[in-house]
Amino acid sequence: MSDITSREVWTEWCKQRVTYAMLLMAVAFGVLALRLVYLQVLQGDRLHRLSENNAIRLESLDPTRGLILDSGGVILADNRPRFDICLVPRDAKPRETILPLLACLLGMDQKEIEDKIGKAASFQPVLIKDDVGRDVLGIVEARRYELPGVVVRVKPQRHFPGKGTTAHIVGYLSEISLDELRSSQYPNRKSGDFIGKYGIEKEFEPYLAGKHGGRQVEADARGRTVRIMDTVFPEPGNNVYLTLDMDLQKKAEELLEGRAGALVAMEAQTGKILAMVSSPSYDPNLFVDGMTRKQWNELVKDPDNPLENKAIHGGYAPGSIYKMITAMAGLENGVLTQHTQYNCPGRLKFGDRYFRCWKHYGHGTLEVTEAIAQSCDVFFYKVGLDVGVDKIAEFARGCGLGQVTGLGLGNESPGVVPDKAWKQKVYNKPWYQGETLSVAIGQGANLVTPLQMARFAAAIGNGGALYQSMLVDRVEDPEGILVEKFTPKMVGELPVSPENLELIREGMWGAVNGPRGTARGICPSDLDISGKTGTAQVVGRKDRDKFMNELSDKIMFQDHAWFIAYAPRENCQIAVAVFIKNGEHGTACAPLARDLIEAYMDEKKEILPGTVASREQAKNGD
């Protein structure tokens, strides 16, 4: 309860408290008034002078963006100095002589320069020509005394020495958009800044960007800095080391030259990406340096879509490379054993329709390993029918399909693993048995990415371990101190017993090395490659004939070609997936995989004796 018992007590108490409060207010406002007097009278002259030409300014100091390198330290993205020629209109006197000379040196029209300057006679430098070459810069510098008011501004500009080779992985930068500025994702960024828009440049933006600095400067009446008041130095960005091997990457690019497709090479025991090429490619420098409308149109209108990373964005029908999954589903569900035999007469009658084998005259009687090696369609039609589409789908998912591989680049497609529920959901229609036949040989609605298939091949090669695909090895700060190290991560195992996996491995070995293998004769045996070809129809055979007659652009409807491989058979080291769009037949891809694996093995051989030699040298040194 309150101590206030009567009106008199209250009035007395309240009067005392209010009096105190009023005194306090007087003191507080007195302080404010004194401060006003200090600023406006005592400091007034000085501050007035500073305000006259807005003398205190803020200059931004841009940080150096971190580098992107391959596993061996080859630079994939760095910064080069960019020279902009600017003119301070007020200092450019007499204009009659300066402008024609400048126009001549820069190879511009004098009118163009006049338009840029406008009528303003300001102290602010006006950009006349950006990013001039060193030759032009040299000439301008040499005649500097004839060109008062001309200023050369140096800025760091992103540069991709690897050009198209790593374009889809490294990505590119471009100017931050209004929406991005408004979102809280890019704090401390201002308009005109360049940010990573694609690839590693985008995904590792926080590591690469560094931190902006700046300084307060006092400028004189002509806008020139007379005093630096306070500086916050920018912090350079960190360097990102990829798992890529630039030699292999270049080799892969060479191999795909002139074709549309993708090649992915993966370290079989870790999931590290050694090479990942999508062809055709583009020069990412265009995005930084600026491109003409024509160049842009060429990029976006190219039917082979150079901007798309076919290794991860595109989902494609896998064709026969899917047969290992059907085989696994059969073997693990007991509808198929090592010795189960089926006869292939070249086609299978199902309902009132014939499903053809690619080999018109048939394969005769086959067991599972030979069926894989010779890629018999009829054999897998039968397995597929026995095991059912839902089981196949279950095993496909177990093999890492229908999901992203965790690469960490944007837009990785999960692909499609069709089953009954999927069809009901997407098309609201029941499943037809006939579709199971298509799915069993990798036709139908199945969609996979080359990266998924490389990982699948790696898992078969290494004995069953599915690794998260890995593109970045580590991040280091500019001094080389480790900031973050990424480690291989096993995310699952192929849903197959060691014995059954061995049957599949036997089949894939036979495809390359067996007398009737679909990829026989592609390589000298010392490489010990196992593999599987795939040919994926773009349209059904009937439709295809129709289209082929009606359309002039026939190549669009040619089959896609696949080859997945790993080597060597035991103690597997590398797995490769090659995909060629409209490549007609899987055998077209096989030599590419062989050449890449050969290059990889050669590299390893070179390194091994090398290390021995250096060890011996070290010994001799002692």
Binding site: R17, V31, L32, V41, R46, L47, L50, E52
Partner: protein, 368 residues
Amino acid sequence: MFDRRLLQYFDWGLLLLILVIMGVGLLTLYSAVASDTNPAEMRLYYKQLTWFGTGLVAMIICFFPHYHLLDRWVWVVYAVGLFLLILVLLVGKKISGSVRWLSLGPFTYQPSEFAKLAIMVVLAHHYSQNIRTGGLGLIDLLKPFIYMSIPFVLVFMEPDLGTGLLVLLIGGAMTLFVGIGRRTMAWLAALCAAIGPLAWFYVLKPYQKERIFTFLDPDRDPLGAGYHIIQSKIAIGSGMLTGKGYLEGSQKSLAFLPEQHTDFIFSVFAEEWGLAGSLVLLFLFLMLIIWGLNIAYRSRDPFGALLAIGVTSMIFWQVFINVGMVMGLMPVVGVPLPLVSYGGSSVLTIMMGLGLLLNISMRRFLFE
């Protein structure tokens, strides 16, 4: 319900004072947004006019019903305040990293502003029944502490440090007005002395300490707050004795001042009107505050007096912190200058508070 006799006690002087300050506010805001660099800003001026209109309506609404109704419905007011604060955390609109706004069509409202009023009403209710002529003891402070902490924490989570501090400062001012006993004061001081260093060395992380340092000393952030304060001081100082003249401010016309229509509007005023004008504006605010204290003194009952103290302390703190901040005396914290800074929620809160002052002032002679 409404007594005709009331009109003859209406506080015309206070109303006049409010209208004069509103006029100064509109003039200054016009100058701040009418720079030719960004014509689109003019819409802020018209928006503020709308807010002033809304504010006058809110003022009238707060003025008619007897303020004792607030005493009776205190927990409803408090509950609505807390509800709005929780609502904004759940569905609020995010602008530059903080969730402070509730959208109502084209307008947005900051519930944290309403929290200031709610805490006044609650504390006025509580203290009016618990005045100790010898000063409050530690136990007496427990409940008010809880009443203040809940809205503070909710506002702090948005995060809106400025308004959160205001909630504490208003509550603190009311508590000090009621008075804290000498021994209790000593205890509190000892408690702070004990907890402060402990928190500093064991709880706060280095980046949090850096933030506190920067808060207290803007020069540590030469590219952000420090730069703003330098520009603000240049603007104020360059006004000198008589100012550069209305609409003639050079700092503001080149947009060198940050947030010149909200937190830094006093700099625009001081640049154009100089020491003479600034002292007049400060004097107007001082008069408003003295008027408020006087209303508290004349009030017939403790609840009315304490409510008047709450409103007055809100105005005082906002003026003192804002003007102190732009002159480099105070940490950089976003607190609007009452009736001058642009901002609908702030205008609404201040006007509602002033409506309550008029309400208390008018009813001081009436018997129930």
